[in-house]
Amino acid sequence: MTQIELRGIEKFFGAVQVIHNLNLAITDNEFIVLLGQSGCGKTTTLRAIAGLETIDKGDILIDGKAVQHLKAADRDIAMVFQSFSLYPHMTVFENVAFPLRATRMSSGEVDKSVREVARVLRITDLLDKRPSALSGGDMQRVAIGRALVRRPKAMLMDEPIGALDAKLREEMRAEIKRLHVKQGSTTIYVTHDQIEAMSLADRIVIMHEGFIQQVGTPDDVYSHPANLFVAQFVGSPVMNIAEASVADQAGAASVTVGDAPAGFEFPRQLLSKLNGHAANGGVTLGIRPEGVLVRHDAAPGYIPVEANIIEPLGSFDIVDLKVGSKMLRARTKAGYVSGPGEKVHVRIDPEQAHFFDTASGKSLGVRL
């Protein structure tokens, strides 16, 4: 049973504040992913929990006990580094056994524990090899083995598969998931890759410029982004964002993107839900490419537009549609739009539309 709580963490590098009043409670066995671009403070947060970085303010609690003044060695937390950090002068066996050698464990027990972990990670054949003889994936397995072997209170992973190639990354992602389900330990995982985050996390913590932007399940952050940053950071292809004006038009709401000649039709209740925001003109519409519906022939609610660039991505295409001076990216079946310049008709699926306050970027929480 391990719970980790971060309370009001602040961290400065010189005059630069890299973490701002960070609060987060992590429950037992939870898989938490810190997601953000490089320099957002996610790795610093992880290193602070590990004890490799001091904090300037706040408390780090492990099972209710403040540990921010404890040395890394005394926190009983394991960490997997992006660079693997396997000790080159030791065999795989010695690498995995290394954390146990720091304890008073007998060599017989060490042997047993290492072999048990090796079996789980399928690295038994590699125990006598040196790290330099291993492939990237095997190195990472060994690094994870070294972290798991002493059954730490929590596992910290700093972009553990970031250095692997795409195919191996996918394999190791599945492997980490499998291990977590099987071993079940509180895990904090840092990555800039939203696919990793979505596929692994129980909850995702999205960070930007030292602030937490949103904490939620993968479904939460995808379907209910708290602000424009999260909306654009999570999801691929990226969500369309455009300032929009909303008007009451013949019994329905009409949402006009930028300087487009015609507005998209929305249900009337949008007007009451937006509650005056529209009148100020400060609304930004967010719509993922799959929420932009495209058809060849005219239909009620669809407006005519011209296709611009088409990116074929195998199972689907991303089509840039010219709406006024803005481009709206739509996801279509492969080959649905034949080429640039083709005239098509487009509509926005009201159920998939997000509305944000333009000034603050915060979500208005309006869903239809």
Binding site: L52, K71, A73, A78, M79, S85, Y87, P99, R150
Partner: protein, 318 residues
């Protein structure tokens, strides 16, 4: 993989190989000269033109290790017949080996050689050890005025050491450090330390910080992490630094000449001092020099792989 080479590249290669061969010959010639002289009969040592082919003998080494005096009359044939082979060689040269009772009196060479070993080994261990710790500190921690401190350490090498020989001599005499092992060791550590710090810092900077961080998280103190992880990783750098420090201390002549004369005298000032007594005995001097070359040659040969990395260090980015 065999790379395709143009004819001009092949030509360049041949010229380069030729140049390396010539340079090697030039560098090896004095060593060959010393080595061959060490095994020459006395009268061939200074023959003109130089003798290249001769029957090698070890008599110079016998002379090197023994105390001898010139004989006034020829040796008694009975004594000659009873003498061991090496003593006969001395009698052949018109000398006899000094003895106390039955015991052969050894020359000072073994003592001086031992002094050289003691001073060079201890000063190398100290310089490399201190340099390694210092370099680790500079490499891993934020230190106020780090650049200035490193420059200060480097600046101790900007002056030729001999410039301070006289004040050093006076200070050593006052402190009672002249003609002592500890005095020479302190001097050589001082010479080598800045070099050791700078070279080791380069190697330390190359060792990823994550290794120690992993060890820290794995339950070790920083000191344990240093000894269990950093030191083994730095072995190459330590070996390279040690070779350079050892060679400097082993070959040092000027200060050894000034600061020592008897008890703590090292081999470099001792060997030429033998020239003075009577007619220069070049073969014995060559024998002493030849033996003196061996420890450095062996040490360097054992660590040659590390040394090569030390020399090309920084030239290749990983």
């Amino acid at each position: 993989m065999a790379a395709v080479r143009t004819s001009s590249e092949v030509a360049f290669n041949r010229i380069a190989i030729a140049a390396v061969l010539i340079a090697t010959l030039v560098f090896l010639a004095p060593i060959y000269w010393i080595a061959s002289t060490a095994f020459k009969p006395k009268e061939l040592a200074v023959s003109v033109p130089p003798t290249v082919l001769f029957e090698p003998e070890v008599t110079p080494f016998v002379r090197l290790f023994t105390k001898r005096v010139q004989m006034q009359k020829t040796v008694d044939p009975q004594v000659y017949d009873a003498a061991p082979w090496w003593e006969k060689r001395i009698y052949d040269g018109g000398e006899r080996v000094l003895k106390v009772g039955k015991d052969v009196q050894l020359s000072q060479y073994p003592d001086r050689f031992m002094n050289s070993l003691i001073v060079a080994v201890i000063s190398t261990v100290l310089a490399v050890g201190m340099g390694t710790f210092t370099a680790y500190g500079f490499s891993r921690f934020k230190i106020a005025g780090e650049a200035d401190l490193l420059f200060f350490i480097l600046s101790t090498r900007m002056l030729p050491p001999v410039v301070v020989a006289i004040p050093m001599f006076l200070m050593y005499r006052m402190a009672g450090l002249n003609d002592s092992h500890i005095g020479l060791i302190i001097l050589y550590v001082a010479f080598n330390l800045s070099f050791s710090v700078w070279l080791m810092k380069g190697f330390m900077d190359e060792i990823p910080k994550e290794y120690e961080e992993a060890a820290l998280v794995d339950g070790y103190t920083r000191m344990q992490a240093f000894f269990k992880i950093v030191l083994p990783e730095a072995a190459t750098g330590i070996a390279a630094t040690a070779v350079f420090c050892f060679i400097t201390a082993w070959n040092e002549y000027a200060f050894a000449l000034i600061m020592t004369n008897r008890r703590a005298q090292t081999a470099p000032p001792f060997i030429p001092s033998q020239i003075g007594s009577g007619l220069p005995d070049w073969t014995t001097i060559a024998a002493g020099t030849f033996l003196f070359l061996l420890p450095v040659a062996i040490f360097t040969f054992l660590l040659r792989n590390h040394l090569l990395r030390g020399v090309t260090f920084g030239a290749i980015r990983k």
